[in-house]
Amino acid sequence: MTLLNVVNLKKYFPIRKGLFGRVVGYVKAVDNVSFSISENEVFSLVGESGSGKTTIARCILKLYDPTDGKIIFEGKDITRLKGKDLKDYHRKVQAVFQNPFLSLNPRMRIADIVAEPLLAHMKISRNEARKTAIKVLERVGLSASLARRFPSDLSGGQAQRVAIARALALKPKLIVLDEPTSALDVSVQAQILNLLEDLSREYKLSYLLISHDLSVVRYISDRVGVMYLGNIVEEALTEVLFESPLHPYTQALLSAVPEPDPSLKKLRKRIMLPGEPPSSISPPKGCRLHPRCPRVMDVCSKGEPPLIEVGEAHKVKCWLYAKK
């Protein structure tokens, strides 16, 4: 069943200049993006910096108001939620960010950090909340002895576990994970990825994972959307996307990931994209990839390609796959 449905989402940031803050243009961070996440599904948005993936996460968390489009959660458009419904939404959708030390209050004890959302949303005493908090902390692999410590006493991996515990405490439906392991060392990253995987199974959680790291995305996701300059250019089941990517950008992105296994390296062919992504203030006309695309055709600079369904749950925004 669909849990979250994002429909034609747009988020433009105005660029202001001069004394009176005249709007001279827009950064089109997210431009007409649609996707959905089912219950107990891990959906990832992957892309390079400036592709708009974090902006989407922030719109879903209601940290930004979308410029246009709908975000429908359990059948209700979240941009119009008020009162009890809004509070309920904030309980059901939680977030874990990249840097746990910036998202944990340095002056609060670990148990209180995890108990805080419980106190805000449920009618329970501080003591009961702390007890629940300790149970959740133990579930994410932290010993109860850490409960009275402060975030500065923790390692990066432990602090990220606290952030996960806080997100988990309210038994949410969806957790938005924005680069949850990017600040961690590889040996610790594996622990956190496994924990996230276990929790999603155990609590029937859905995740929206935002990441630039394709290997992390492949490991944990059921389905993936690839973003480039504010658009989703390809969307498919994880194995389909990684084994037979269709969009030239996805192919280039995948081929650029360095591979530790020297025996696999020889089999890979590298597709280089020249230059760097252009600015999203004035994205290229037509297909946004066309100035860098190795398979560019005449039509690419003329019109924006449609999102074409090429297989089951596999969509590509590229003229190569348009029916003649």
Binding site: S187, A190, Q191, R218, L254, E259, P262, K265
Partner: protein, 330 residues
């Protein structure tokens, strides 16, 4: 050992940092050699001491660092015995150059790329004529693949994107035709497609300039892309060294094996990830013996007692482990 084609020889290097909370032993008993035209990759997680090694070689350690023992022999000269003046006039930025994770570190934000580059060219190469300096600057910017070198030379660092600025930093590093380039996580701040471009560029320039390279990274994939040899470090201690293929395909040290198992892969489907239990040791409070012993399932008594030494297990493949490479006491 024939010293003929060895360009850099590090012998039993030990570096400490003195902090208010105590002494941090950043590098302990590190030895390795770098040959002409070879690229060596130092791989490690945070606190492994990999960046300290780079800064020690060019003698740019922060003031609270002390090199307690060891030698850094470059062209038969121990760099640690040179005066600061000799170092900055003849070696640093001339014979041995370094690029960093943040390319902005190479540049003064108040000077244009062209000004910085021509300063380096004038100081180290002794070229005085304006035209020749400009010519050299332009050709360097072209060499690193920057389009429109005239415009780039007129730009301030903040006007360039991360990828372009890293190219410019490489131009500065290579403008003096150095023998050795030390690259400390040069692509960590870049997106993967730009990372691929920069790695390609470094590979190409290494051939063109006949460079020897020390590449410092935490990313095993990046190491596999650019290096002939890999040196794995953990908490300041060298654990394993060998050719890229040897270390990545036939690792011996328990840490290297585990580390390879816990990297998720983009190019291959993996089952459930193995992970290393526990966390990296506190650098101010390191275990007495092998720093990996508390997390190692094979650890026995000697592991907790003494630091293991590197032993040659196979030709060119050295490992420091009491259990899998015993005999490394001397």
């Amino acid at each position: 050992m024939t010293s003929g084609n060895v360009i850099l020889n590090i012998k039993d290097l030990n570096v400490n940092y003195f902090t208010l909370e105590g002494v941090v032993k950043a590098v302990r008993g590190l030895s390795f050699t770098l040959r002409k035209g070879e690229s060596l990759c130092i791989v490690g997680e945070s606190g492994s001491g990999k960046s300290t090694v780079g800064l020690t070689i060019i003698r740019a350690l922060p003031s609270n660092a002390v090199i307690t023992s060891g030698e850094v022999v470059f062209n038969d000269v121990d760099l640690l015995s040179l005066s600061e003046e000799e170092m900055s006039n003849k070696i640093r930025g001339k014979e041995i150059s370094m690029i960093f994770q943040d390319p902005a570190a190479t540049f003064n934000p108040l000077f244009t790329i062209g000004q910085t580059l021509s300063d380096v060219v004038r100081h180290h190469l002794g070229i005085k004529e304006k035209d020749k300096v400009r010519e050299h600057v332009q050709s360097m910017l072209r060499t690193v693949g920057l389009p429109d070198p005239e415009r780039v030379a007129r730009s301030y660092p903040h006007e360039l994107s991360g990828g372009m600025l890293q190219r410019a930093a490489i131009a500065v590093a290579l403008s003096t035709n150095p023998k050795v380039l030390i690259a400390d996580e040069p692509t960590t701040m870049l997106d993967v497609t730009l990372q691929a471009q920069i790695l390609d560029l470094l590979r190409k320039l290494k051939e063109e300039f006949n460079l020897s390279m020390i590449f410092i990274t935490h990313n095993l994939g990046v190491a596999a892309e650019v290096c002939d040899k890999i040196l794995v470090m953990y908490a300041g201690v060298p654990f394993e060294e060998g050719s890229c293929e040897e270390v990545l395909l036939r690792p011996i040290h328990p840490y290297t094996k585990k580390l390879l198992e816990c990297v998720p892969r983009a190019h291959r489907r993996v089952g459930r990830l193995r992970y290393i239990p526990g966390m990296l040791p506190d650098p101010k409070n390191l275990p007495r013996g092998c720093p990996f012993a508390p997390r190692c399932e094979r650890a026995t008594e000697p592991c907790n007692e003494r630091l293991p030494k590197m032993v040659e297990v196979r030709s060119g493949h050295r490992v420091a482990c009491h259990i899998l490479a015993p005999g490394g006491e001397h």
